[in-house]
């Protein structure tokens, strides 16, 4: 299906104060891909994610979702196809109850109240949070809020799901639940994360970013086990592949 192809074509982005955040990025995501996005702080991961659904528009180059070029006139449609889960669930859950939050997207897509709530319950079930439907977000734990935030994006039935540091504040068990959850999704996924082990588990392919440029794009096991690449990118080897994970000293 044509919507399941997301293309970045030589995208550059310069912030209003002049900083160059993205520099000539080109890559493609296809239906069913599960891709990781890694890089040091300031490498441009969040800026890249913001370009996926038109929160930011490129200074040069173009982004397209299927046949739709991402531009001022196509934002509403693009956002129906690309779902973005932010780092902080509190930024995404702004309604009085979890159910209303998750139903927000479907409502804006034109569903009636009843239809939207049905879609919302379905999304909450898929993340295992249906018991939280009537609760206000501020009464939920961080892990629960993360789950509900993901449900809120899923409820809009996007084709692509982009997540920004989904496991950043989760405790180990919540993190494990999240990985299991994301494993089960058949959506095309782009996961930006510092948690290299999570990326290794979830994403067969990885994009390595450095200072706004694409350093590498390929098989995640191969790239993330490459010490020179990791060093060049300002990262280190994931625990699961580094000798340190087995009790030896520092690798880099």
């Amino acid at each position: 299906m044509s919507h399941h192809r997301l293309v970045f074509d030589r995208v550059s982005y310069r912030y209003p104060d002049g900083t160059l955040a993205l520099d000539g990025l080109s890559f493609e995501l296809h239906h069913g891909d599960s891709v990781g996005l890694v890089g040091a702080n300031g490498s441009g991961k969040s800026t890249l994610l913001s370009h996926l659904n038109g929160l930011l528009l490129p200074s040069q180059g173009s982004v397209s979702v299927g046949d739709l070029p991402v531009g001022p006139g196509t934002l509403a449609q693009v956002r129906q196809h690309v779902g973005l889960v932010f780092q902080d669930p509190d930024d995404q859950l702004f309604m009085p109850t979890a159910l209303e939050d998750v139903a927000f997207g479907p409502r804006n897509q034109g569903m009636t109240q009843a239809q939207a709530e049905a879609a919302a319950m379905e999304a909450l079930r898929s993340v295992g949070a249906e018991a939280l439907a009537a609760r206000p977000p501020q009464h939920l734990s961080l892990g629960q809020r993360s789950a509900v935030a993901i449900a809120a994006v899923l409820a809009g039935c996007p084709d692509f799901l982009a997540l920004d540091e989904p496991a950043a504040r989760l405790d180990p068990r919540a993190r494990r639940r999240l990985i299991t959850l994301l494993h089960g999704f058949k959506h095309s996924k782009l996961v930006a994360s510092h948690d290299l082990d999570l990326v290794l588990e979830l994403c067969p392919r990885v994009l390595v970013l450095k200072e706004g440029r694409l350093l590498a794009d390929g098989d995640s096991r191969r790239l993330l086990s490459d010490p020179d690449l990791m060093q060049a990118a300002g990262l280190e080897l994931p625990l699961s592949v580094s000798p340190r994970g087995m009790g030896a000293g520092p690798v880099i």
């Binding site: 913001s50 659904n53 929160l55 934002l75 509403a76 956002r79 129906q80 779902g83 973005l84 932010f86 902080d88 509190d90 930024d91 995404q92 702004f94 309604m95 009085p96 109850t97 209303e100 927000f104 997207g105 409502r107 804006n108 897509q109 109240q113 206000p136 977000p137 501020q138 009464h139 809120a152 994006v153 809009g156």
Partner: protein
């Protein structure tokens, strides 16, 4: 107000998850009764302390119906007495009239001060019962069905959603200041301004992110309001009964009757 007070507030909101008969009433009924009660209390003239006494029945009865402990709620209502005390404290000094209380001649100002304090506590107590049995979010929605503009109801909901979060941030800032300043030397307005400025910058950044999150999910200019269910017979009955009770407490001469009854028992 500190973050501790804020979490006390959240406790109050949690009380709204009860299942008593009062909880199940439409919040609009309770809001209207609260306003009617306030009108009854405020209409009591300056010195008419006996007229206020029966009105105490209303919040106490409502709290009982909701299954609340009356004393903790009353304790929460206490700050209301502050302003009344501050301004009313002059009454005993300035009021030239004298009144006979239990055989002593005291300034009528004591009477008017007592009336003011009682009024403040009554209305505050009623407001707390109202809020604790409805929950803030539903109360805000019921304002909408009363005719309040949607943008204002939306504002109340978002304020409620984020006040706790920002209160925590503010508490952290304050603690950071206080911990590094054990001798309390840096408590002036200049540092406070810097802290507040930092809080503002963070708040505006958060607002921007929230706005973007709204846009990502198809925001069209305003958030959807809650679906409100129509009133049932118990709502109408409660409204009628509540108004009747308030009216009776306000206008029936219950205190003289009680006095007459007492005199009959104990001549």
């Amino acid at each position: 107000m500190n973050a501790g007070a804020w979490s006390g507030l959240q406790e109050l909101d949690r009380l709204a998850a009860g299942h008593s008969w009062l909880h199940r009433l439409d919040p609009l009924v309770k809001l209207l009764l609260g306003l009617g009660f306030a009108v009854a209390v405020v209409s009591v003239p300056k010195y008419a302390l006996p007229s206020l006494a029966p009105l105490l029945m209303v919040p106490v009865l409502m709290a009982a119906l909701a299954g609340f402990e009356p004393l903790p709620l009353l304790a929460r209502a206490w700050p209301a007495a502050g302003v009344a005390l501050m301004l009313g404290a002059f009454n005993p000094l300035l009021d030239p009239q004298r009144v006979d209380v239990a055989g002593c001649q005291v300034s009528a100002g004591w009477l008017s001060l007592a009336v003011m304090l009682a009024k403040a506590l009554l209305v505050a107590g009623m407001a707390l019962v109202l809020v604790a049995s409805s929950g803030f979010a539903r109360l805000a929605d019921s304002l909408g069905s009363l005719g309040a503009p949607h943008i204002f109801v939306q504002q109340l909901q978002l304020l409620w959603r984020y006040a706790g979060l920002l209160a925590e941030e503010s508490d952290r800032l304050k603690r950071a200041r206080d911990l590094r300043d054990p001798l309390a030397r840096a408590r002036g307005p200049r540092l406070a301004a810097r802290l507040i400025g930092g809080l503002l910058a963070r708040s505006l950044a958060r607002a921007e992110r929230i706005h973007q999150a709204m846009l990502c999910r198809g925001f069209r200019g305003s958030l959807p309001g809650a679906a409100l269910r129509p009133w049932g017979p118990q709502d109408w009955a409660a409204l009628a009964g509540g108004c009747g009770l308030i009216g009776a407490c306000r206008f029936l001469p219950l205190v003289p009757w009680a006095q007459q009854a007492l005199e009959r028992i104990q001549p």
